[in-house]
Amino acid sequence: MRVIDKEGEKLDLLSVNIGPSHPATHGSLRAICAIDGEKIVAASCEIGYLHRGFEKMVERGTYQQVMPYTDRLNYCSAMLNNIGFCKAVEGMFGIELTERATVIRVIISEMSRFIDHIICVAAALADLGAQTAYFYLFVPREEGMNIWEKLTGARLTNSYARIGGLYRDLYEGFEEDTLRLMTLTEKGLSDVLGLVDRNKIFLDRTQGVAAISQKDAISYGWTGPCLRATGVDRDMRKDEPYYGYETYDFDTVVGSTGDTYDRLMVRIYEVRESISIIRQALKRLKPGPVNVEDPRVSLPQHINAYQDMEALINRFKLVYEGVHVPKGEHYDGIEAANGELGFFIVSDGTGNPWRIKVRPPCLTQFAAFAHLVEGAMIPDAIACLSSINIIAGELDR
C-alpha cells in the first residue's frame, strides 16, 4: 500500500502478519504490521487464539474445581496461580493460614517464579539465536519439575494449593532436593551470563530496543518485572506484604531504561533474589499442620469421617456443594512472575462461583506491544516480544 509519511515522502508499505503461528510468538498472538523494508511503521495486535473460556467454565463447578483451570493460566509457573486464587478466596473468609502453610507457600511461590523467569530467559535467548543458553537453563528446569512431580504428582500443571492450605505436606528430602536445585540454577545462570553478559551481539540486539517510558508503562497498567525494568520500584511483596514477606531479606531488582535488555536482566537477577528467599524460608520450616482447621474450608480427616457423623456430613457437603464462600465481591492479588495476578470474585453465598475475573499481567504488557514496536525493525519486535514474557494461557484465559 502506498502512503505519504509525515515528511511528505512517498513510501510503499507491505502488510505482514507476525503470527498467529510463528516460531517466536510464545503462544498464539498476532500482530499485523505495515513495514517499510524491515522497519515497522504501524502495528495492530490481535489476541484470543487461546481463549478457552476460563471465566465461563468456572461458573459451572465448585470453588475447588476452579483449581485446575487456574493452573493452565500461566502454565510456566502454575502454582503461583493456584496460590493467587486461594489467597483471594481465603481473603473473602478472612482466615489465616497455618504457619507451615505460609512458609511452604512462600517457598513454592519463589520456586515457581524463578522457574518462570528461567523459561522466559531461555526462550528469549533462543529467539535471539543463542540456543546453547536454552539447553543450559533447562537442566535446572528439569530438576525443578522432578521436585514438583515428587511433591504434587504432576510435572507442569500441579494444582498444589487448596483453599485453607495445601494439597499435602512436603515430602521427606524436599529440602535437600531444593538446595540441589538452587545450586544447579545458580550454575546454569552463571554459565548463561558468561555467554551473553558482555556479548556484543546480545547487547546490540537488546540495549535500546523497544524502550518504554515510566509514564507509558504505568498508563498501560504494567506491573511486575517489566515495570521494574523501567525504573519504577514497586513490588507487591514489598508494598503490600503477605505471607510474611516483610520478614524476609531481599531486594527488588530495578532497571533504568525499560528496554529489552533491562527486562531480561531484571528477570535474571530476580532469580537470584528468589533463591535467597527460599534459603531463608527453608530455615524457618517448623513441623505443624498445613491445612487450617476450619470446617468451612478444610476437609476433615478421613479417619474422623469414618467415626464421626458431623465430620462425614462436613466432608460430603464440602466436596459435593463446594466451599460456601460468603456473599460479596472481593479482589485480591499476588505478585506473580509477570506482575500482579489478581482474581475478582463475585460470590452469591453458595459453593458455586458467580463470577471470577482474572486480572492477567500479560494483557497489559501485550496491549503496549504495538506502541513498543512501532519504529523498530522486525527482529527487534521479536526480541521485545520474548522479553515481555507473554504466556498465551494467561493473556487469553
Binding site: 495492530s44 490481535e46 473460556g53 520500584d233 506484604p241 479482589y331 500482579e340 463470577r355 486480572r359
Partner: protein, 218 residues
C-alpha cells in the same frame, strides 16, 4: 505538576494503613461527587457512581495528588441475572484502581447499567489499558463504551454472535469461524493515527481471503 519519583521505594503498608487509606479515599471522593457505598461489598468498601459522573470521578481519582490512582488494574463486567434477590440494573462494570504513589491504596468503582441502555462512557483517554479492557467487557457482555476509538471484539472471533459471559448464553453453544479477520481496516486506522496519509484505499480483504471467497462462490 512536579514529576513523581517512582524509583524510590515506598514504606510497606499494613492492613491498618490500607484500611485508613480506603476511608480517606472514600471521604475525599464523597466530598466531591455523589457516590454511594456499595451494599454488595463483603470485604472492601467500593463506591457506586452514576455513569454520567464516571469520567469526572476517574479524573479526580487519577489527578488528585493525595489519591494518585495512576494504575488501572482491570475493568470487570458482571451480569446479575437471577442473582439472589438483586433488584436494579442487570449489569455492572467495576473499575479496579491501584496507586503507585501511596503504598497500599486501592479502590473499586462500580457503574450499574440496564440491559436496555447498555452504554457507559469510555475512560480510554485517561488510561491506555482501558482500550483493551473495555473491548473485553464489550466482547463478553455487550456493554458499549461511548467514545471508544476501536470497539471491536478482543477474545472471541469476529464472526461470533452474542456475548458469551452473559448468564443466558449457554456455555456449550459453539460457533465456527470461516476465515480469520484480515484486520486491514485496523491497520489503516493505526497508520492514520501515526500520521501517514494513504494514497490507495486499503482493501477490505487480503488477497488470500479474496481467493477463498471467489472460490466458494463458484
Amino acid at each position: 505538576m512536579s514529576k513523581f519519583d517512582y524509583t524510590k521505594a515506598l514504606v510497606p503498608s499494613t492492613p491498618e494503613s490500607r484500611e485508613a487509606n480506603l476511608t480517606k479515599v472514600f471521604d475525599l471522593l464523597a466530598s466531591r461527587l455523589r457516590i454511594v457505598i456499595d451494599p454488595q461489598e463483603h470485604c472492601a468498601k467500593s463506591a457506586i457512581v452514576d455513569r454520567s459522573l464516571l469520567h469526572t470521578a476517574v479524573t479526580i481519582l487519577r489527578d488528585t495528588p493525595e489519591l494518585g490512582f495512576d494504575l488501572l488494574l482491570d475493568i470487570v463486567g458482571i451480569d446479575y441475572l437471577n442473582y439472589l434477590d438483586h433488584q436494579g440494573p442487570r449489569f455492572a462494570v467495576v473499575y479496579l484502581f491501584k496507586s503507585l504513589k501511596v503504598s497500599g491504596q486501592r479502590f473499586q468503582l462500580k457503574v450499574l447499567v440496564d440491559e436496555e441502555d447498555l452504554v457507559v462512557p469510555t475512560i480510554s483517554d485517561l488510561y491506555s489499558i482501558a482500550d483493551w479492557a473495555e473491548r473485553e467487557v464489550y466482547d463478553q457482555f455487550g456493554v458499549r463504551f461511548e467514545g471508544h476509538p476501536n470497539l471491536k471484539r478482543l477474545l472471541n472471533h469476529f464472526e461470533f454472535v452474542g456475548h458469551p459471559l452473559r448468564k443466558d448464553y449457554p456455555a456449550t453453544k459453539r460457533q465456527w469461524l470461516s476465515t480469520n479477520d484480515p484486520m486491514l481496516d485496523q491497520l489503516e486506522a493505526r497508520l492514520k493515527h501515526n500520521g501517514f496519509e494513504l494514497l490507495d484505499p486499503v482493501p477490505v480483504n487480503t488477497p488470500a481471503v479474496e481467493d477463498v471467497i471467489k472460490g466458494s462462490r463458484q
